[in-house]
């Protein structure tokens, strides 16, 4: 299991705007403390070519994110990607992760891990790639 440190988020304050869909093509993921919207660029993600993930994270209440990790893996194959994405903060809870590469068709799972003062929350999204 590999984690990608997105960087420290200093007392991430969720804005009302960030909790709404950022636009067409974004999928909504939810954990007890957070909502995360994600979209791949391009969509759908290709096989055998790099793509990026845009994400918008907001806290549902008083939850605070100290760090976010971006990753993906193939649960049925039990392996992850051959690349480790790099994550850039774009402000207002917006993130861009470059360097994703799905090297096989099949079911992939995007994974986001959010560290909070009270523990770690995980959000996932499955996607079938042809």
């Amino acid at each position: 299991m590999r984690g990608i440190l997105a960087g420290l988020l200093l007392a991430l304050a969720a804005s009302a705007v960030a909790c709404e869909s950022p636009g067409a093509g974004y999928a909504r993921l939810e954990s007890p403390g957070f909502v995360l919207w994600m979209a791949t660029q391009p969509a759908p993600p290709p096989v055998g070519a790099e793509f990026a993930v845009d994400a918008v994270l907001c806290a549902k209440g008083q939850a605070q994110a100290e760090a976010v990790r971006f990753d993906a893996w193939m649960p049925t194959h039990r392996h992850g990607m051959n690349s480790r994405p790099s994550v850039t903060a774009r402000g207002d809870g917006r993130w861009r992760a470059d360097g994703y590469l799905f090297h096989m068709p099949g079911r992939w799972q995007f994974k986001f891990e959010i560290d909070t003062p009270d523990g770690r929350e995980r959000l996932t999204r499955d996607i079938e790639i042809e």
Partner: protein, 410 residues
């Protein structure tokens, strides 16, 4: 529907029946592929694709660079004793490989042994990583390795620069492509490698019986599709279906361009071949990688794959997933050339030894336990991925007349 005979309708019915019979006869050899199968088959084309230009190589796609690269590719003076050219191992008539289990290199001179099978250069321009361990991220940086390898050309930047400056025709060609050769030796060396890469990018394998079948199937031309041998069709169904082969041998090139451990032993004389693990280490240490100063790419995104590649324990013993186009012409097989024939390859996957696979590795690899007929079918499909034309007698892809060319002898 009920059909009634009448004097007027009989000839028409006969004609229809005959047509149906003829059609049935023509289609007797066409399997009924499901929509899912047809989608999976479609992903292996179209062919040939447009070869992308390499943005890290400023002469990629330029005719005079391709012509210079072709000259260099066959020139044994790349090695200081004029004994070995690129074409020594990457032979045009053998689909750009050498037909040997392992390349001879300088092994016959008591200087050691090479441990990896010579990969074909066909379709290299469509790749992402180069070499069985992917230790290079461009064709031009990959070309530098045999030039400098002590068991291959055993050459140097000084040797290459001397050759390019000293030969009147080569110097002329170099000047037209890269400018004055009076520059540091390492720059001339990299330029030479970029010319060779420009040539290698052009080596695209021809269309095959599989391509004709795929295209016919997609345009609904069942009669044309039915000309594809039934055994190959059954093998294709296995390849894209139950065999799971297309998971790694993906897309038009029949490779996902990445690396896998398929249970081929990686022990070599005196140790182990660490495969992709060593490849990533080598890539990161390579001054000629995409992150280095020799790349011509202005856009940092070009180096993204090298910046993001992850070194993981499972890379140990992984080797490049080779493309399968012209596979029937590139025996022997596997990174160590240990399987002599396609039949041996099919047998390997049929009897796969799971104990040799990483415990944390792919869960898609299982012994296929093929029946004798299924093994023959899979082999027939693999053979259909090769063009049936005559062997290429020479590189001959550039076709450029140069003002630098030597006048023909009188």
């Amino acid at each position: 529907m009920t059909l009634r005979s009448s004097n007027r309708s009989t000839p028409r019915l006969i004609a229809l029946g005959l047509a149906a019979l003829l059609a049935q006869g023509a289609l007797a050899g066409l399997l009924e592929f499901s929509p899912n199968e047809i989608r999976a088959i479609a992903r292996h084309g179209p062919w040939p694709p447009a070869v992308p230009r390499d943005p890290s190589n400023r002469v990629s796609g330029k005719a005079e660079a391709i012509a210079l690269g072709e000259r260099l590719f066959v020139d044994p003076r790349l090695s200081p004793d004029a004994s070995m050219a690129c074409a020594h191992c990457h032979r045009p008539a053998q689909s750009w490989t050498d037909g040997r289990r392992l390349p001879l290199g300088r092994a016959n001179r008591g200087q050691g042994t090479l441990v990896r099978n010579t990969p074909t250069l066909s379709n290299a321009g469509l790749g992402r990583w180069f070499g069985w361990g992917g230790g290079s991220d461009t064709i031009w940086s990959f070309s530098l390795r045999p030039i400098g390898h002590p068991l291959e050309m055993a050459s140097s930047a000084a040797q290459i620069a001397r050759m390019l400056r000293g030969d009147v025709e080569l110097a002329c060609r170099y000047r037209r492509v890269f400018g004055d050769p009076d520059k540091p030796d390492d720059i001339v060396l990299v330029d030479a490698a970029k010319a060779i890469a420009a040539f290698v990018e052009m080596l695209v394998s021809p269309r095959t019986p599989f391509d004709a079948f795929r295209d016919a199937l997609l345009r609904g031309d069942r009669a044309a599709a039915a000309r594809y041998p039934p055994a190959a069709q059954r093998g294709l169904r296995l390849f894209v279906g139950e065999g799971n082969c297309a998971v790694c041998h993906f897309g038009p090139t029949f490779t996902n361009g990445e690396f896998a451990d398929i249970g081929v032993p990686f022990f070599v004389p005196g140790g182990v071949d660490r495969g992709r693990y060593a490849g990533i280490e080598r890539l990161r240490a390579d001054p000629y990688n995409l992150l280095g100063r020799y790349s011509d790419a202005a856009d940092p995104a070009v180096a993204s794959r090298t910046r993001h590649v992850a070194l993981q324990p499972r890379n140990f013993g992984e080797f490049k997933v080779p493309g399968l186009r012209n596979v029937a012409k590139t025996a022997p097989y596997m990174h160590d050339g240990s399987l002599a024939t396609l039949r041996d390859v099919v047998k390997h996957y049929s009897e796969l030894n799971e104990d040799r696979l990483h415990t944390e590795g792919e869960r898609i690899l299982r012994p296929l336990h093929l029946t004798p007929q299924a093994a023959v079918d899979l082999q027939a499909f693999l053979e259909s991925l090769s063009d049936d034309g005559p062997p290429v007698a020479s590189a001959g892809v550039s076709g450029v007349t140069s003002p630098c060319a030597s006048p023909p002898a009188r």
